[in-house]
């Protein structure tokens, strides 16, 4: 029974892998050479995919309209050139405060902004960036990239193909060989002992009581909102990447017998936003984990109330800023969900968890 769900992935993993964002792609005015101009292209973009991978599907819509020259494709949302190495779902969660469906993007085939974006030569560049991120994640989890460097050509090809085509089962088959399991069945982390000679081994639960640590790959995108807004739909658009703070730092987990929640994880990365706040009640957390164990959703109804209280607490302002929204794979998970569940179910294929956080910067109080 357990093996069945593992082969095909958990329910949540299936939702995430099947998730897609409807895009309406417009050719930039400066590149339209035909009258009437071509209508926009409508396509579904996988959340876990990357925009340049869609170009072969999009180009036929516009190729007869393009000016002569060599293609150097890039995408833009309301004037902001999009970073092609960020997964499509993360871009959408970050840049569309109020989800826009379809998401209206502009495509360019000329005039690549080389001073802003590293070059992208299609699928090869995206694949290289993906493998690089996977290596980095492996290094974070195991202390070395050996298992990635030693992948056979056919395994690497199969892994990339499963990502390209959004095939979860094929992906799970190949990725299980990488020995990058960081979460066990009970959502607890598989941790390594602190002595460095055993850093490279994945070990069973230690019964002698030594402190065990683990590192979880996380990419945090923080969007600051410095205007007073009523709802998310009023959030000012992001017109520059300077408005986004990107934090590429692993979450360190220490097994001290307490349940480690999503709240705890974000607090370790952004401690300044959680000043003077009570920590999570560990007893409450254990009960929730037991109750939620039978369901793959990970949060039972009885936790809703606690969840609200939790979110409110996180919303309590520090001196200068407060968290308005935490979005992962398009959802706002309850903060008391075990972080292990979040990682296992919501991470991207390169083993990174991408978290978008909207932070409201408060006005300083003037006396």
């Amino acid at each position: 029974m357990v093996m069945d769900y593992k082969r095909g992935g958990t329910d949540a993993q299936q939702y995430v892998w099947g998730g897609a964002i409807p895009l309406q792609i417009h050719l930039h005015d400066s590149e339209v050479t035909t009258l009437p101009p071509p209508p926009p292209a409508l396509i579904l973009a996988p959340r876990l995919g990357y925009l340049p991978l869609l170009v072969p599907q999009i180009k036929p819509f516009f190729s007869s309209s393009l000016p002569p020259g060599v293609d150097t494709v890039w995408f833009e949302y309301r004037g902001l050139p999009l970073k092609w190495y960020i997964p499509t779902g993360a871009l959408f969660d970050l840049l569309c405060a109020e989800p826009e469906r379809p998401w209206n993007l502009t495509i360019h085939f000329r005039g690549y902004p080389g001073n802003m974006l590293p070059p992208c030569e299609g699928e090869d560049s995206v694949k290289w960036s993906f493998i690089n991120a996977l290596k980095e994640a492996a290094y974070i989890i195991n202390g070395n990239c050996k298992n990635i460097m030693n992948m056979s050509q056919s395994d690497q090809a199969e892994l990339w193909r499963s990502v390209l085509n959004g095939q979860l089962e094929a992906y799970l088959r190949v990725s299980s060989k990488l020995k990058l399991d960081i979460v066990g069945d009970d959502f607890a982390f598989k941790l390594n002992s602190t002595t460095s000679h055993s850093r490279q081994s994945t070990t069973d639960l230690d019964t002698t009581g030594t402190i065990r640590t683990g590192r979880i790959p996380v990419r945090l995108y923080i969007r600051t909102i410095d205007e007073d807004i009523d709802g998310l739909e009023d959030a000012p658009i992001v017109d520059s990447w300077e408005k986004i703070s990107y934090i590429n730092r692993p979450v360190e987990v220490h097994n001290e017998g307490k349940c480690f929640t999503l709240y705890d994880a974000i607090k370790t990365l952004l401690p300044e936003l959680f000043k003077d706040e009570p920590s999570v009640d560990s007893n409450t957390c254990e009960a929730e984990v037991k109750g939620g164990q039978n369901s793959n959703e990970g949060s039972s109804k009885s936790t809703e109330e606690r969840g609200e209280a939790q979110t409110e607490r996180a919303g309590l302002p520090s001196d200068s800023a407060e968290i308005k929204l935490i979005r992962i794979q398009g959802i706002e998970p309850q903060l008391e969900i075990p972080f292990g569940w979040v990682v296992n179910n919501l991470m991207n294929p390169e083993y990174y968890l991408h978290i978008c956080i909207y932070v409201k910067v408060l006005e300083p109080i003037t006396i």
Binding site: K83, L117, G143, S196, S245, N248, R249, S320, A321
Partner: protein, 236 residues
């Protein structure tokens, strides 16, 4: 239980190591551009320490190695070029500090990677008119043996990616092997000094390796600070 050092640093240790390196460089390389710490203009509520930043040096001009030295790989001829780093000797045959129209200037940043727990070298190079160079032009600048390494394993050696602190593409030396060779260089020091990682020596050893890619060698006095076996002097 004996803990052996794995060649990595915490971000706080990197800050200390970087400041020590800037001081050591100033002492022995007075005529060269100096390293300085650049604090990141992140929102203060994101990080709780003021040490978030990177080490930067700008307008470095690479030493011109003679064509013969490159091809023969002759140690003696290379050592002639090391002399340009010593204050008292000025080799007029080597165009260094004034830079004519064909001279390329380099900016180097040492940025800490929380993932690999080591410093990572990012660099950009400019022509005299301020225009950045392309990757194949850089390859012409660097010593022949580095170029060979480059073509053999391009994707794992020198690549172009977004600078982690500035929203622009820079070139970088991939860090995945760094902890291993740092461990090789300094592990004898680490076990000898029971206080742990030799933070004061870390950047000298690190730069003795990454600087070699560009033909930049540290002066003998700096190398002596860490001992002969804690640095790499290229003999190929």
């Amino acid at each position: 239980m004996v803990e052996s050092w794995d060649g990595t640093l915490s971000s706080t240790e990197f800050y200390v190591a970087a400041c020590a390196f800037a001081k050591q460089w100033r002492k022995f390389n007075r005529s060269l551009p100096q390293w300085s710490w650049v604090t990141c203009p992140k929102r203060p509520w994101i990080s709780h320490d003021n040490q978030v930043g990177y080490l930067s040096v700008e307008n470095v001009i690479l030493p011109r190695l003679s064509e013969e030295a490159d091809q023969k790989g002759d140690i003696i001829e290379k050592e002639e070029c090391v002399s340009e780093y010593e204050d008292e000797v000025v080799d007029t045959a080597v165009v260094v500090h004034n830079g004519g129209p064909g001279v390329h200037r380099y900016d180097f940043h040492a940025v800490y990677s929380a993932s690999y727990r080591v410093p990572v070298l990012y660099f950009l190079q400019f022509r005299a008119n301020g225009q950045p160079l392309l990757l194949d032009e850089i390859e012409k600048d660097i010593p022949v043996h580095s170029a060979e390494l480059l073509t053999r394993s391009k994707w794992t050696f020198m690549t172009q990616e977004e600078h982690p602190e500035l929203n622009r593409p820079w070139y970088t030396l991939h860090p995945c092997g760094t902890s291993e060779w740092m461990k090789l260089l300094l592990s004898t020091d680490a076990s000898a000094a029971q206080s742990g990682i030799p933070v004061e020596k870390y950047m000298i050893s690190w730069f003795s390796v990454v600087g070699q890619v560009f033909g930049l060698k540290l002066p003998v006095e700096m190398l002596n600070l860490v001992g002969a076996d804690s640095t790499i002097v290229c003999t190929q």
